[in-house]
């Protein structure tokens, strides 16, 4: 009990030094937490992927289309419950900086396949009835102030021209991990326009989304789909939605790796700061430790004192950093919602914060503790005065 009393009082004895160290740790944990959240946001699409959905695309590359005629063939394959399809539209709203994902999809099957996009039944009905209608995520509509009935024009990049759409519905995410910044319109609208303007590009889709009856049949179903189109003009590659999304992430793997490295560098820097503080603290208290050893306290007690002090300082900074992470992430997320539609501090990130703090505390205390234990009492006492 007395050891704990000394430990806590020691930790805050030099108020300025302790406060600055705690502040440093809090900022480091905040930075670490935000960087980890960036990484987890990057993988949000992968994490949110359903195990009972497959994606079928052209085996050569995602940029090559597949014929619409595959729709019926895929539907008949054993294990397939529902099939939808769509294209990446790549339209620009006013200016290129206004980036958001926009797809044309077969709306009936698509929203059935994605129950995480929650749409009011009346709005859904209005959307299905209007071929030029579109549905936007709640956040996207809020960002540009769109209201149902508004006409929105996208400038085509893959499909040339100005494309007018009427907002018919706003979808919400089933939970906070769902991206609410997407734009969906009718595949038929694109296809019928193409039939008039570029007939050679009509009746083609960018991808098929396939719902399977049970997650365990997904691998066999994927093989069966690809087998059906073997040796055709457009061979397919079918993979789970998770693997498909992961493929996209892999394209930006270097950036993710760089962010991960920076997050670890932050931890290493703060470890050096805490180690320096603990070294100064221990050096300052050499006499105190010598006295305690003189009185009969052992190395175990000294170890508890130094490691404990390091842990108290580090965890205090960690808790402050963790508390600050939430408003910072909110501000960060709203500033960069074009790039990170879901920017949520996950429980895993908080565990990493605590783990990092404990690691810092222990590593920073090792050398000072070793020194304090090994120093001869007579030498320790000589430091006083």
């Amino acid at each position: 009990m007395m050891i704990l009393k000394i430990l806590f009082r020691n930790a805050f004895h030099n108020k300025l030094r302790s406060s600055l160290t705690i502040l440093g740790i809090a900022v480091a944990i905040l930075a670490f937490g935000l960087l980890r959240t960036v990484i987890s946001s990057w993988y949000a699409g992968v994490e949110a992927a359903s195990t009972s959905r497959l994606v079928t695309r052209n085996a050569i590359s995602i940029i090559f289309p597949l014929p619409i005629s595959y729709n019926e063939k895929i539907r008949q394959i054993e294990g397939v419950k529902i099939v939808s399809y769509g294209n990446w539209f790549g339209g620009i709203y006013i200016d290129e900086k206004n980036f958001f994902a926009n797809f044309c999809v077969e709306p009936r099957t698509y929203f059935e396949l994605y129950p995480e996009f929650v749409l009011d039944p009346l709005q859904k009905k209005a959307f299905l009835a209007d071929r030029k209608g579109f549905v936007a995520g709640r956040k996207l509509a809020a960002r540009y102030g769109w209201k149902p009935g508004d006409t929105v024009t996208l400038k085509g990049t893959i499909y040339q021209g100005n494309w007018d759409f009427v907002l018919r519905g706003l979808y919400s995410g089933r939970d906070e991990t769902v991206d609410e910044s997407q734009f969906f319109f009718h595949w038929d609208y694109l296809n019928e326009t193409l039939k008039k303007t570029a007939p050679g590009r009509a009746d083609q889709v960018g991808f098929y989304m396939v719902g399977v009856v049970r997650p365990d049949v997904a691998p066999d179903t994927a093989i069966a789909i690809d087998k059906s189109f073997k040796n055709s003009l457009a061979e397919t590659l079918t993979e789970t939605e998770k693997a498909f999304n992961q493929g996209f992430i892999a394209m930006s793997g270097a950036i993710v790796t760089a962010i991960q490295m920076v997050s670890f560098v932050v931890i290493i820097i703060i470890m050096a700061v805490v180690a320096n503080t603990m070294a100064m603290t221990t050096r300052e208290r050499t006499g105190d430790y010598a006295i305690m050893k003189t009185l009969g306290f052992g190395g175990k007690d000294i170890t508890i004192l130094i490691f404990g002090e390091s842990l108290v300082i580090t965890l205090t900074g960690c808790v402050i950093g963790m508390i600050l992470t939430f408003p910072a992430a909110k501000a960060f997320g709203s500033t960069l919602d074009n790039f990170f539609p879901t920017f949520i501090v996950s429980t895993d990130t908080l565990y990493y914060d605590v783990l990092a703090a404990i690691l810092i505390a222990f590593l920073a205390a090792i050398i000072p503790t070793r020194h304090a234990i090994r120093i001869r009492i007579a030498d320790g006492l000589r430091r006083i005065g």
Partner: protein, 239 residues
């Protein structure tokens, strides 16, 4: 007369052929040579000598906070030169009370907590520990300062707290290294009077290192060290 009285008492510390040297990189610096003498139970011994004569080293060896190169130190029935570090720590906790020149109180603990500190190594329950510490502080006349931190007390008061801490476990011997070295004359007199009383009224064996003749005057027996050698002819206090 005092010399004769000392011989009549039981020997509490028996030092035989003690050698000690320090190693500074490749250099070996001898500090004590063939020290042999006894300290009787209830004795108030002053170790005097010029700086570098080895008196603090000898005190540290007797108190078990340093290890001799050669020779033996029996305190009671125990040869402390044969004890391991852990055994020595345990032995010190039970047998030695320490008073230092710079008081060496733990700055983050109040006076009462500083005095109570050594009792945490005993099996005494918290309430009794507190009572013992209160009694020790009362003996040095500092009951009214028990809730004060060392930084809130004068040097003399801090040294009295250090004495209370030294006696609270009722140790076999009290060792004091220049206990008045950092005090003004009035405070130094108070501390020496207190030590005298501990020796005469409570029968505590005190071994004090000092280079102050006034402090040495209070001791019953005087030993003189010079360049690591003990003058064995000056056991009576001529001062």
């Amino acid at each position: 007369m005092q010399h004769i009285m000392a011989e009549q008492k039981n020997t509490i510390v028996e030092i035989r052929n003690l050698y000690k040297s320090y190693h500074r990189e490749s250099l070996i610096v001898p500090v004590l040579y063939d020290i042999t003498f006894d300290i009787a139970e209830g004795e108030f011994l002053a170790l005097m000598g010029p700086s570098g004569s080895g008196k603090t080293t000898l005190l540290n060896l007797i108190a078990g906070i340093d290890k001799a190169d050669k020779g033996s130190i029996h305190v009671g029935d125990v040869d402390i030169t044969t004890l391991s570090e852990t055994e020595l720590a345990h032995w010190r906790a039970n047998n030695v009370g320490f008073i230092f020149q710079f008081y060496n109180l733990i700055p983050v603990l109040k006076a009462i907590e500083n005095v109570e500190l050594p009792l945490h190594l005993t099996s005494l329950p918290p309430k009794e520990r507190h009572q013992h510490a209160e009694m020790a502080l009362a003996m040095v006349g500092l009951t009214h300062r028990m809730d004060h931190y060392p930084s809130e007390m004068s040097g003399g008061e801090q040294q009295r707290v250090a004495i209370a801490r030294a006696i609270v476990t009722d140790p076999t011997i009290l060792v004091a290294d220049e206990p008045t070295g950092d005090l003004d004359r009035v405070s130094a007199e108070e501390i020496l009077t207190m030590m005298e009383r501990l020796n005469s009224e409570m029968g505590k064996t005190i071994i004090m290192v000092t280079h102050d003749p006034r402090a040495a005057q209070r001791a019953k027996v005087l030993r003189h060290l010079d360049k690591g050698y003990l003058n064995n002819d000056d056991s009576q206090n001529p001062i």
